[in-house]
């Protein structure tokens, strides 16, 4: 092999590794339906200086539209680049990204008005004029370049933040233009999607004048709301930013509080103490809906619930056996009975809004006879397998797992039991890079924050990814091909073909698309988005 091509292969491998690392953003982060394990608390002691007297139940009459929101996790601080969980959803009100991904999975302009790829490794973002930060200063290209660099180069927010902009290694201001170039190591097909899902823009001078502690306690963004008051551990109050570059928001005030227990949030909504809550459990949806003055909104998310099938040991390494499992389960029944109808069947490891979704594929039908036949043909009749699941990490995860295991167990020639695992040891078991000690089936939930099959495949199906749950050379090649394909339509085709193969080879036990349920006071009109992001800007008076 001559020098040139071996170097190309090295670069390709390096790039693949870099892009493969978290092109999927918050992937397996739980939706925090019950108290999410990553909930953390605000930093720095000091007394509680809240002098707010009565936070009691009744909302304002008259013309002011104030919104009180209760979420399930508490934020760790206000630095948008250190956003773990709750901090991210709260900071969405005050900070913005260059682009955003709409509910169909398409890129839309936001702080950027246009974008184009200059060459392999250089992507140009043209910035919007007339955008001001909360402190009145105009957003400059310097600020944008600084923001990106702060995420990918510095130690701010640590590795977790850097991973949200994977592939991007630097940013530079374009001479003479109100634009910034994003630099990647080699062709980065996902670069624009990446700044659609992350990369909040902050002001360079504002950050540089402050210590990291101060940045964690104050806010200066371009978003529709500015910080009024931050009571650590208790609440965060925003007020409308009238110089927002779009129409100012309808709400004049937005207040965030948090309560880990879903039933507590429901009580708060019913008692009129808050106007909006996240993650209503399906069995309480009725209560909220039938209560006078409140209702629910439910929507599809970008998240799939599935079981990993590590195809390196028996009987999971048999394609027929895996296919049998997919025929043996009845996801619609689980959606109807366990999730009160909140969910949708999936046909492949992708959702309709993902780029690369194959619309010609059908979900596996429920066919236990065929399943039993396939088990016989696989030579693993009488197999005993285990399905491991988390508890409280994904909506009704334990109940769904038990129902699923039960459905498989109904087959006469397979027995299956569900095993509940504590999250931390479960993760360590799965993500240690060694598939041979994985459980037979591991139930997980995964989302694509880029709404794109390219990154998704890379994280879950590439054999050398740390979360490696599947090993197939042909799949590895296809993934690599798609990731380095510059032509959009050709890339789409490649991804669709890969999705077909993954479905037909039963690489996953496909369960369902997760639905999220929100509770609202009738005074608010709002539609959910699949990314589950919360934008108070979109909440308007009913």
């Amino acid at each position: 092999m001559d020098e040139n091509s071996s170097r190309k292969i090295q670069n390709r491998r390096k790039f693949l590794k870099a892009v493969g690392v978290s092109s999927v953003g918050t992937t397996l982060a739980g939706c925090g339906s019950q108290s999410g394990p990553v909930a953390t608390d605000p930093d720095d002691g000091g007394g509680d200086t809240d002098t707010e007297a009565d936070d009691g139940g009744q909302q304002n009459g008259g013309d002011t539209f104030n919104i009180r929101i209760s979420i399930g996790e508490n934020p760790t601080g206000l630095d948008p680049h250190m956003a773990l969980g709750a901090t991210g959803s709260i900071m969405n009100q005050a900070y913005e990204t260059l682009l955003f991904i709409d509910k169909e999975g398409n890129l839309q302009p936001q702080l950027a008005t246009d974008w184009e790829r200059i060459e392999s490794g250089r992507a140009r973002i043209f910035l919007r004029e007339g955008v001001t930060f909360h402190n009145g200063d105009e957003m400059t290209a310097e600020d944008v370049a600084f923001s990106i660099r702060r995420i990918v180069k510095e130690d701010v927010g640590g590795i977790a933040a850097a991973l949200s902009l994977t592939g991007v290694i630097d940013a530079e201001v374009v001479e003479g233009e109100h634009a910034v170039d994003l630099l990647s190591d080699g062709l980065n097909t996902l670069v624009f999607k990446t700044v659609g899902g992350g990369g909040d823009i902050v002001q360079k001078s504002w950050i540089e004048e402050r210590s990291s502690d101060e940045v964690s306690q104050e806010v200066n963004g371009t978003g529709p709301f500015q910080l009024e008051q931050y009571n650590q551990g208790e609440s965060i109050l925003f007020s409308r930013f009238d110089d927002y570059w779009r129409e100012p928001a309808d709400a004049s005030e937005v207040r965030f509080t948090w309560a880990g227990e879903a039933s507590t949030r429901v009580s708060q909504l019913l008692a009129g103490e808050v106007d909006f809550i996240t993650n209503v459990p399906p069995d309480q949806a009725n209560r909220v809906e039938s209560n006078d003055g409140t209702g629910i909104q439910s929507g599809e998310t970008n998240r799939i619930l599935f079981c990993q099938c590590p195809n390196v040991f028996e009987p999971i390494n048999s394609k027929k056996f895996r296919q049998a499992l997919n025929y043996a389960i009845n996801p619609q029944e689980i959606i109807d009975n366990v999730l009160s109808g909140f969910g949708a069947v999936v046909s492949q490891p992708a959702l309709p809004q993902f780029f690369g979704y194959n619309p010609d594929l059908e979900p596996y039908p429920y066919d236990p006879e065929k399943a039993e036949q396939l088990v016989e043909e696989s030579g693993h009749a009488g197999a005993e397998i285990e399905l491991h699941n988390s508890v409280g990490r994904y909506l009704k995860d334990e109940a769904v797992a038990q129902a699923t295991a039960n459905q498989i167990d109904q087959l006469s020639n397979v027995s299956c039991t569900a095993v509940s695992r504590e999250w931390s040891s479960f993760v360590s078991n799965i993500a240690d890079g060694d598939m041979s000690n994985n459980p037979d089936l591991s139930q997980l939930g995964a989302e694509s924050s880029q709404v794109d099959s390219g990154g998704f495949h890379s994280t879950f199906f590439r054999s050398d990814a740390p979360l490696s749950g599947y090993q197939d050379e042909e799949i590895d090649e296809r993934i690599q091909m798609a990731l380095s394909e510059p032509d959009t339509e050709r890339r789409r085709e490649l991804l669709q073909e890969t999705n077909k193969k993954l479905r037909d080879d039963a690489a996953w036990l496909l369960q369902h698309q997760v639905y999220a349920i929100w509770g609202l006071n009738d005074k608010i009109s709002w539609d959910p988005v699949p990314s589950e992001e919360l934008y108070a800007y979109d909440m308007v008076p009913a």
Binding site: V21, T27, T40, G57, G158, S424
Partner: protein, 328 residues
Amino acid sequence: MDFWNFFAKRIVQGVIVLFTAITIVFLLRSVTPGNPVDLMVGFDASQEVRDAVARDLGLNQPIYVQFLNYLQGLLTGDLGYSYISGTSVRARLLDRLPASIELAVAAFVIAVTISIPLGIISATKRQEPADYLATMLSLVGISTPNFWLGIMLVLVASVQFNLFPTSQRPIGLLPAITLLFDGNTNGIVTWISHIVLPAVTLGTYFTALLMRLTRNGMIDELGKNYVPALRSKGLPQTLILYKHVLRNTLIPIVTVMGLQLGTLIGGAVVVEAVFAWPGLGTLIINAVNTRDWPLIQGALIFVGTSFIIINFVVDTLYAYINPQVKYQ
């Protein structure tokens, strides 16, 4: 032995207990599955990234080195930094401590205020309707799960009748009192309205327990020889009851109270969850779930120290109340 010797001895014992506890935690660390790095970096992270994070946290060093470093930090009062949030452990714990103390003390006060009189009534009116009623109530109180009781109280008192807020702690006691000095009653009213339901929920088991102990202890005492002796001496019944019998009854109960108070501070996780009360219990559970070892260790020291202090106070009180007992 006099008081100061007693005190010194207790301090030494306390230090030994804490040291043993920390050692055990470090031993557990090496055998517990689960790894904070996995929970911080997300699944997709490569091995290099994980190694980098582990290095950052000092997790790549052998366990005994980490142990020694930790002990060294302790000597200077440095409890380390939380893996997950990077903030000072001491700051996080101190931030949560007032909420936990308020809740525990409120529950304690409610419990004592209700249970002792109830116990006395029960004991003196033994086998009468009042006794039966009180005993049954205490049985219900002991058997009712915290979680259910809390949610029921919220549903009835907050959602249905809007008597109390459903959850949260918008203001602390100290700030509320400060406001009071300025003539503003809003703070203290808010504080009280928010603490009633959680304190009642948390205190119910304790109330029931104490009531039964008081009742049974008192019945025991009333059966002793000195009671008719005092009566024949001409002492009025109330005096006998409150000055002599009650005091004797309470002596062993004080020990129980002390232990319970310690439990109330760190163990109110369920109540904290239902009422979104920002206390230590929730912090500790989250720390355990995320393998945030510095936070777990720090919490252990905090809670352990409070137990030691409380027990010391209890034992001192005990010696004070009961002249037969000397400091040992």
